[in-house]
């Protein structure tokens, strides 16, 4: 799972049935200071997150299918939590 | 899927037994005109492609979703031979007849 910031929203009228009834959000992965930032991607929202929220994203198909309770869902990235705070030791 | 050109073949005597009888082609990613643009890799052929053909390759776990490559240690397959590529209204590639 990765930490990311919600930076945008995507509106689709025509989409695959697995994507209906949930919002698609544009997310930007967070990185450490000395790291080059990862590229942004699209994630399906399962937590009612909004722009500006820091979120926890499951970026793997099997986990996504469990979250969505659909054994054939064609979804990879799902937002599974809204992060309140992060503590980093090193 | 990536657009790639078949540039060679691989012969391997000692290999995983599940790879026995599989055609291992060397392909190189290309742009929409068929000009090489990346590093070559080896892909299993499922459509009887030959050297010089522009093909589509499928990578990752999807590559194991063919009857030839199911449950085999494969991460790239050739799944189509390109006849025509049309980009922004222009035909950028046409297979030689």
């Amino acid at each position: 799972m990765i930490l990311a910031k919600v930076v945008g929203t995507v509106v689709t009228t025509i989409s695959h049935p697995d994507y209906k009834n949930r919002r698609l959000l544009v997310v930007q992965p967070l990185g450490l200071e000395d790291e080059a930032p990862d590229t942004d991607f699209i994630a399906l929202d399962n937590t009612h997150a909004g722009i500006g929220d820091t979120v926890l994203i499951n970026r793997e198909g099997n986990g996504a299918r469990q979250v969505l309770q659909n054994p054939n869902a064609c979804v990879i990235s799902v937002i599974v939590g809204i992060v309140d705070s992060v503590y980093l030791e090193e | 899927m990536l657009i790639a050109k078949v540039i060679g073949t691989t012969v391997a005597t000692i290999k995983d037994e599940k790879l026995a009888g599989r055609k291992l082609l060397i392909v190189r990613p290309t742009d929409e005109f068929g000009n090489p643009s990346g590093k070559p890799y080896v892909a299993i052929d499922t459509v009887d492609a030959g050297i010089g053909d522009l093909v589509l390759t499928c990578a990752g776990s999807s590559a194991r979703q063919t009857t030839l490559t199911k449950d085999t240690p494969v991460d790239a397959v050739i799944m189509a031979i390109i006849d025509t590529l049309e980009v922004e209204g222009q035909i950028t590639f046409q297979k030689a007849p």
Binding site: V10, V86, L88 | A63, T66
Partner: protein
Amino acid sequence: MLLGIVKGNAVCTIKYPGTQGLKLLVVQPVNKYLQPLGGLQVAADIVHAGEGDLCVMVRAREAALALPDEKFVPIDLALVGIVDELEVKSDEFFNLTLQRGWNPYA
């Protein structure tokens, strides 16, 4: 999942069995500012997208799962949605680095 812009189409007579009916489109993967990410790729279309459409795409085995009928096919990129509206706030509004110690977000 990622964004892509439809650039054209790929015609293939010889295809892996089970993918014959699929429409294959040439797409340019893009980032949130619609800047190109890498070269052109080919995606299976299930939403009847046309040239110039901005689409949501899914990679890997999930692309094959997006297909309506046969799901055991070698497809690793599929279009799953046509974008009507994309709203993106610029990175400068956000702190995207994880600092040592506590990072409060609430």
